[in-house]
Amino acid sequence: MNPRPFDYHSPKTVDEALALADRFGTDGKFLAGGQSLIPLMKLRIASPAHVIDLGRIVGLSYTRIDGEILAVGAMTKLRDLANSALVANECPALVQCAMHIADPLVRNMSTIGGNITHADPSNDMPAVMVATGAQLVATSSRGRRPIPAPEFFVDTFTTALRQGELLTEVRIPTGRNRLSAYVKLERQPGDFGVVGVAVVVELGPGDACSSCGIGLSGAGPKVIKAKRAESVLIGKKLDDAEIEKAALTAAEEAEPVGDLRGSSDYKRQMVRIMTIRAIKAAVKGAESV
């Protein structure tokens, strides 16, 4: 179907966009790449009266190092993330995630900000956000506030962004000793994942794991931070036995819902298997450097 009629606005600056958002309140909706919003509007599941296109705002698309932080502008396209040597160096999980979202055509429009704020439980970026301990910077006409990833994802399609707030930047902690990976189980390319697992580990003296982040996508009503699985690995060397234990724990922490991509039991098993693969991929990535 076609979307219902709406008024279209194309601000040139963040301030203009925020002023429009304040003016229209709940009748307004930001448009980033449109690869989630436009399909919803075509189905008439979403019919905002005012669409605020962020696509002409300069300065929201970038990747840069800010001290110990990889800062990514919210309008950075997934295609550019996937091709970024800087990001591949600083956070492999982010590149691997971007590469596996949808298909190349969609990735030419999709943005990291859109994937995060849409907060579909099957969206992939939220898993990387919770695993890396990212901060999501929300900007409004009243100022900026950084929101830690686990607090950002509140529920299915629901984030902590308040009315009038726009996600402008993603801030990911980096570090020489950080290893990361994102693995996704898809029935076919371009599909949403059955499940996806993001892993970030830091190895300390004796190759013992000093910190760990595990994010599960498609395994619950929202992205899941597998806290108990993370604590299984802390202080341990990442051998097969410990990885298996952590994976089993992650599978227990998952809350999968059965749907056309698999039953709840099947998805839970897949969480276990993909967690093993993600941890191994994170560690192996370091070995191939």
């Binding site: 179907m1 449109g34 030419n108």
Partner: protein, 164 residues
């Protein structure tokens, strides 16, 4: 034009460029692929308003029955189409692929085309066509004059379809 007009609809209905096709209505199939500022996108999931001020290239801009682009020649010679419905989308994505990667391997071709679905061919001949297209382009050949040009007849505007 209403703001809610999708780029696909604008191209087909407002501009009469019907080479770009509506295949699935669910952002899945890629039959609607056009180049937006040189990058292939699904025009069914872009508002025409988003494309305002930007460069849009459709299949009509690549080649036509009057003169086929090497990519079209390759799809013809290597039987990379059967019903042809997905083919403009395949050609548009292939065009951008070969601009950036003049000699892609099978893996790269399949990855680049993973957003373009085909229900007829099983993709094998599509991959062959892209390989052959890359060869034609690298050799600088493959622009084939269409039948009318060969007979010395004037070119036909792109929207007319023979026999319909």
């Amino acid at each position: 034009m209403e703001p809610r007009t999708l780029l696909l609809r604008f191209l087909r209905e407002n501009l009469g460029l019907t080479g770009t096709h509506s295949g699935c209505e669910t952002t899945s199939c890629g039959a609607c692929t056009v180049l937006l500022d040189g990058k292939p996108v699904k025009s069914c999931t872009v508002l025409a308003a988003q494309a305002d001020g930007r460069k849009v290239t459709t299949i009509e801009g690549i080649g036509s029955a009057n003169e086929m682009d090497p990519i079209q020649t390759a799809f013809w010679e290597k039987h990379g189409l059967q019903c042809g419905f997905c083919t403009p989308g395949m050609v548009m994505t292939t065009f951008e692929l070969l601009e950036g990667n003049p000699d892609p391997d099978e893996q790269q071709i399949r990855a680049a085309l993973s957003g373009n679905l085909c229900r007829c061919t099983g993709y094998v001949n599509v991959v062959e066509s892209v390989r052959y297209a890359s060869k034609l382009r690298r050799k600088g050949t493959g622009k084939v004059p269409g039948e009318r040009a060969k007979k010395g007849e004037p070119p036909r505007p792109p929207r007319e379809i023979e026999g319909m």
